[in-house]
Symmetry: C2
Subunit: 211 residues, 2 copies
């Protein structure tokens, strides 16, 4: 957590860093109760400040939620980009690393994941959130482009479609199976292996056979 | 809606059918505020009864949520089974019908869908819920078995894995793109077509080429 002291100096508020404390409180409440499980006042109470204090930093509850979701997408984008960059440049291997990083994030940060994907925020509520989400999606898009570049030009599918397919495969498995609350169904294999097999079958279908 | 008169006769409660009214209130609140967006007391208020009245029918808020999710899964299973049965028995065509029925349900019943998949209910909280979810998943499992039966026995993938893949593809697209709140990303095509293309590529990868 980044408990920077910026706002203390600037605002002289008695709480070291109210903005960060509110985000941490919101994240804790989302983790306990889900994305709609807290009010602005509850976040204030959890952060140990008055019910009016959050308005110093956030217009309303949705603005606080958007800030949480944006921070989540920023970390998520960093994780995906690191997975993309960290090993062999072979796109198929890189895609497997991205898939594992995707599921690892969803498993490690379920509250962020929920804020990012299940908070029912209006689509254009925050340009910063949109930019952070774009950056995360950009890694999938880049991976899709690298995969498509391996295919002959004739009949090559649009990379944008492949990117959406990769995203929905990873999100489907992450949200059904890679979170704490998922287990209404027991999986025959770890979610990472389920996703890997799915992506490999899909790549086979694109014409990128394994052997 | 099934406003049966059973409970009126049995309990003599002044509210026609309290149980159904509470479920309807919960569903409306979930639709407005998300799965954690209501308390037991709010559901009572929305249903026009006292805060204590819900305890006549539900142990706690989770039990009410489980009832909502179970009704959702029951309708969902009916829709998927109808799609499976309604047309040509060719498994690939049937799979396409199931995919469309899946997305149609998520789009038409976003509150149910959220209660079913995002309510963070503990896995074994309700045997009735588990049974209803099993019945819905059973349709996907049946479709996966029919698809796998078209493949040569040697190297045939496990139908259970294929069923989980089909589920995660449909859920990924439903939860990212086929709901009101999804649009942080503009799709280049309708979600139904995105899913159809994905399933066809996946089936190609299994060895069920289109032509």
């Amino acid at each position: 957590m980044n408990w920077s002291n910026k706002s203390r100096g600037r605002r002289g508020y008695h709480h070291g860093n109210l903005r960060e404390a509110l985000v941490a409180a919101a994240l804790a409440l989302i983790g306990e109760k889900g994305p709609a499980g807290f009010t602005f006042a509850e976040a204030a109470r959890r952060a140990g400040v008055s019910p009016a204090a959050p308005y110093r930093h956030f217009r309303d509850r949705d603005a606080l939620m958007a800030d949480v979701a944006q921070r989540g997408f920023a970390q998520f984008a960093d994780d995906l980009a690191a997975a993309w960059n960290e090993g062999a440049p072979d796109p198929v291997a890189a895609l497997d690393r991205i898939g594992r990083a995707y599921l690892a994030f969803a498993g490690r940060e379920p509250a962020y994941y929920v804020a990012m994907f299940e908070s029912q925020l209006p689509p254009d509520c925050s340009p910063d959130l949109t930019a952070a989400a774009d950056r995360a999606f950009g890694v999938l898009r880049q991976a899709a482009e690298a995969v498509c570049a391996l295919l002959p030009k004739a009949g090559r599918p649009p990379a944008s479609m492949v990117a959406f397919h990769l995203w929905s495969m990873a999100h489907g498995i992450a949200s059904l199976f890679a979170r704490g609350d998922s287990g209404r169904r027991r999986l025959p294999m770890p979610p990472e292996d389920l996703l890997e097999a799915q992506v490999l079958i899909y790549l086979d279908g694109l014409g990128l056979g394994r052997g």
